[in-house]
């Protein structure tokens, strides 16, 4: 027999080491052994109990089984690891024993292992039973809660019944009724209880039990369709292993709440065996024992489809809102009769701040206005193969403000081709429209300005080709479209082309405006003069075209020419008497200085000077008179004139002059000559002028003044036998400063003055002559007062 004390001491010494090795074996086969230190202490305690059992002379079966049970409490859920666990224990206990010692303890060691195993299994079995009981209890407790509520309801009923009983003690029948009611309530309660039991047993939701660290202790078979794991695959694993990572934080938060003793509901995503993510909803309650949470019981249901449906709905809703509400387009949908199906916020806002108020009358007035024809025209044209129409519409708000909307209409048709719905998308284009209208108006204004301008407006390109011209083809004289594209200079006379082209080039080269005059020459119209201003039309700082505004100046040119001649003639007409006056007066001065003055000659020369000064004066006065007559600024008196008296007056006045030249003045005036209306003084001047001319150009013979009535007019003629007029000059004698014979007195304005006065009286004046030396007849007409009366 070896010394037991030695062996005991050796084993006691190694107790911690044995426990540590044992722990390591257990850890490899167990889940959920959370705290190594605590577990090691627990195992060391078991080793401490196993050593005396090993060394005892009489083996204590009960103690060995108890150690086994204690071991089961540590890792009962892994019975398959029991063999190895006990094997390690046995190996470690006997590790440093001598052969003798081993032989001595071997029977006890065999017993120890065997009995520990028995104890372990019996304990594990009991615990599993207890688990099952706990699960049942958990389920029942849930039912119990519901039942509690019912019981409470019953209790309230009871109390009410009691109250009433107290109140109605005397009414036994009522009491009995109450009792019957109570009985019915009891029965209802019983039925309810059965119903809940049924429910739980047939429930498709998953029922689970996890421990305080989350290890699955139980899970109902309905988990398999959800997660793809059989219950046996899940038990012992931590529920956190299945939580979808992004939801882990909220899961842990909920679990902490549970460990704190509070019920929790939650929704998480979990990962199935094949890697799918599913949404589950949990209802969990902690189970408290000995003041700490021991387990968590709960029900879990698959809400994936509901959540997905919800999410899809939310997403669609959000997208729809984003599309419809967040834009400025006005959107509405309506039935063909105008009934509103939908209007977006933009449209509602639009209606609030402008236009036709509300959609109460339907959508048609808003979209189509009050014109039904418009609706028929637009909607009537829509077909299943042509379901979109776009149009612009002007609408007037309640305060008269005008807005323009552009609508795009989309129709929905049934399979039968029946129009069922219209969608209108509108956009406020008022600003654009206003700008458009303003532009159009402005364009029209400019166009009308150009088209109606009396001037010719021409635009030219850089080579002087005609791009545009107004008045094209407006009448036969004006050019037509064919001039476009041709060079402007082609239309002017050759001698003006270079200068015109030069002006055009200058506009393009320097951008300076130019003035040019040029003539055209056509067979039909003769030479016509045009004056043009040429300016630059700029685009982006560059001269893009030349704008030429031109007007015909043919008349002005003719007048210029007349004016030039006039100035020349006037200077001649004034200069001749002036020269004679000056020369004669100078000569007179010299003559008077001489020693012997020839008085007679001095007198003649002196008179000559005076006569010419007088003539000069007359010339100036005549020109002034003519200017005033032609300008129409002379006032005409209106009096009744007897021409016979007027003629005699003139002849009397001219008598001496005529006699000096040996001429005879005669009057041939009808006795019944009607009176004429007019300015006596001016008509006197006309007649005087004509008689004076006749005397001037006659050397002998008679000068006859006649007046007679011819129709509604009185005709007055002055005929002489003088020099006559060359045929080519007949038409020119009334032009001012025209003088066929320059040597005669006068300035050539006399006949022009006569013409102006006669025409102002509504008459005509003319000259007749058979030629040089054949005498001349000057005649004019005046309307008689009787004719004038009739005329008016």
């Amino acid at each position: 027999m070896v010394a037991e004390s030695d062996l005991l001491a050796q084993l006691e010494n190694r107790r911690a080491a044995i426990a540590e090795r044992w722990y390591r074996q257990i850890v490899t086969t167990s889940h959920g052994v959370a705290d190594a230190e605590e577990t090691c202490r627990y195992l060391e305690n078991l080793v401490g109990r196993a050593i005396p059992a090993l060394l005892a002379e009489k083996f204590e079966v009960a103690e060995a089984q108890e150690i086994g049970r204690a071991l089961a409490r540590l890792h009962y859920l892994q019975p398959e690891g029991l063999g190895r666990s006990l094997g390690v224990l046995g190996t470690e206990l006997s590790a440093e024993m001598t052969a003798a010692e081993l032989r001595q303890v071997l029977p006890n060691l065999m017993h120890l292992v065997q009995e520990m195993s028995t104890g372990f299994l019996s304990q594990a079995y009991q615990m599993i039973l207890a688990e099952q009981e706990a699960i049942r209890a958990a389920l029942v407790s849930e039912l119990q809660e519901a039942a509690d509520a019912l019981w409470e309801a019953q209790a309230q009923l009871e109390s009410r019944v009691e109250e009433r009983t107290a109140e109605l003690q005397r009414a036994n029948t009522e009491l009995r009724l109450e009792i019957a009611e109570r009985a019915r309530a009891e029965q209802a309660l019983q039925e309810s209880e059965e119903k809940y039991r049924d429910l739980v047993e047939n429930i498709s939701d998953v029922i689970y039990v996890v421990d305080e660290v989350g290890t699955v202790k139980y899970v109902s078979p309905s988990v398999e369709p959800l997660l793809g794991y059989r219950p046996s695959e899940l038990v012992g694993r931590n529920v956190a292993d299945f939580v979808y990572a992004p939801d882990m934080q909220s899961f842990r938060g909920a679990f902490r709440d549970l460990l704190g003793g509070r019920n929790r509901h939650g929704e998480y995503r979990i990962v199935t065996k094949i890697g799918d993510v599913r949404f589950v909803r949990t209802a969990s309650r902690p189970l408290v024992q000995d003041g700490r949470v021991h387990e968590v019981h709960g029900v879990l249901s698959d809400v994936t489809e509901r959540v997905q449906a919800e999410m899809a709905l939310r997403e669609n809703e959000a997208r729809y809102r984003a599309v419809v509400e967040d834009q400025t387009e006005l959107i509405c949908r309506f039935r063909p009769d105008g009934t509103k199906l939908f209007a977006n916020q933009a449209l509602e806002r639009y209606l609030e701040c402008l236009t036709t108020g509300s959609l109460q009358a339907g959508c048609l007035p808003l979209v189509f206005g009050s014109d039904e024809m418009e609706y028929s025209r637009i909607v009537g044209a829509l077909r299943p193969d042509q379901e979109v129409a776009s149009f612009e519409r002007r609408c007037t708000g309640p305060e008269g403000q005008v807005a323009w909307l552009q609508w795009t209409l989309r129709a929905s048709f049934e399979a039968t081709g029946q129009l069922v719905e219209l969608q209108a998308v509108g956009r406020d284009i008022t600003e654009r429209k206003k700008a458009e209208l303003a532009l159009q108006e402005s364009e029209e204004r400019w166009r009308s300005l150009v088209e109606n301008a009396p001037d010719y407006v021409v635009t030219l390109d850089h080579e002087g080709r005609i791009l545009f011209m107004n008045h094209l083809g407006q009448d036969g004289d004006l050019p037509g479209e064919e001039v476009l594209g041709r060079k402007l200079v082609e239309f002017v006379v050759p001698e003006h082309r270079d200068q015109l082209q030069e002006s055009i080039w200058r506009v393009f080269a320097r951008g300076e405006s130019q003035y040019a005059e040029a003539a055209t020459d056509s067979a039909g119209n003769g030479r016509r003069w045009y004056a043009a201003t040429i300016g630059a039309i700029r685009q982006d700082e560059k001269v893009a075209a030349a704008l030429l505004i031109t007007r015909e100046i043919t008349e002005r040119k003719r007048i210029d020419e007349l004016k030039d001649n006039l100035i020349r003639d006037v200077s001649h007409e004034l200069r001749t008497p002036l020269a004679k006056a000056q020369m004669s007066l100078e000569l007179l001065a010299e003559l008077l200085e001489a020693e012997r003055v020839d008085r007679e000659r001095a007198q003649r020369i002196g008179r000559l000077g005076l006569v010419n000064i007088q003539r000069l004066l007359q010339t100036v006065e005549g020109m002034l008179d003519l200017t005033q007559l032609e300008a129409g600024i002379l006032r005409y008196e209106r009096e009744r004139i007897r021409l016979d008296l007027l003629v005699h007056e003139v002849l009397q006045y001219m008598q001496v002059l005529a006699e000096n030249k040996g001429l005879v003045l005669k009057a041939e005036v009808s006795r019944d000559l009607p009176e004429v209306g007019g300015d006596r003084e001016k008509l006197f001047r006309v007649l005087l002028n004509l008689v004076d001319n006749a005397i001037k150009f006659s050397r002998h013979g008679d000068i006859v003044v006649s007046a007679c009535q011819k129709g509604p007019e009185v005709v007055i003629t002055v005929s002489d036998t003088g020099d006559g007029i060359l045929p080519e000059n007949i038409d020119r004698v009334f032009e001012r400063f025209f003088q066929e014979k320059t040597r005669y007195e006068g300035v050539g304005v006399g006949l022009a003055i006569c013409k102006a006065i006669v025409e102002a009286h509504g008459g005509q004046i003319w000259a007749q002559s058979a030629g040089r030396g054949q005498g001349a007849i000057f005649g004019f007409t005046l309307p008689s007062t009787a004719a004038e009366m009739q005329g008016s």
């Binding site: 001749t576 020269a579 004679k580 000056q582 020369m583 004669s584 040597r743």
Partner: protein
């Protein structure tokens, strides 16, 4: 030897003035009222000087002037042109014979006498040339 002046002037007033201006100048003055008369007078008497008003009635003075200057008989006869026109208007005539003297009306007696003196001098040179032949 007394010199001869042909005065071609159709205006009687001017005739009077010219005659008064040329009085006491020891020369013979012939008168013509128009171009035709002037040509007739020239055929009869070769004047030493012609005083010609440029605007005449029947035949314009410039027409007469050209005729005189193209006729070998009168081409070298000095001419005094009297006119109210400015000198530039008579440019063409003066180019035909640069020796022609120009008087714009109004002019002074002294101006006329100076022109006459110069004309006579030209005439003297011409006659000297002729007698030398």
């Amino acid at each position: 030897m007394t010199k001869t002046i042909l005065l071609v002037e159709d205006d009687p007033e001017l005739q009077e003035i010219y005659l008064a201006m040329l009085e006491n100048q020891d020369c013979r003055i012939l008168q013509a009222a128009d171009g035709r008369e002037a040509l007739e007078q020239i055929r009869d008497v070769q004047p030493d000087l012609i005083l010609l008003d440029i605007i005449l009635d029947e035949m314009m003075g410039d027409e007469l002037f050209m005729k005189l200057k193209t006729d070998p008989l009168t081409a070298s006869t000095p001419v005094v042109l009297a006119t109210v026109l400015p000198e530039e208007r008579c440019h063409q005539l003066l180019e035909v014979d640069p020796a022609t003297m120009f008087l714009r009306k109004p002019f002074r007696r002294s101006q006329l006498l100076e022109a006459v003196r110069l004309g006579f001098a030209q005439s003297a040179v011409k006659q000297a040339g002729q007698s030398g032949d």
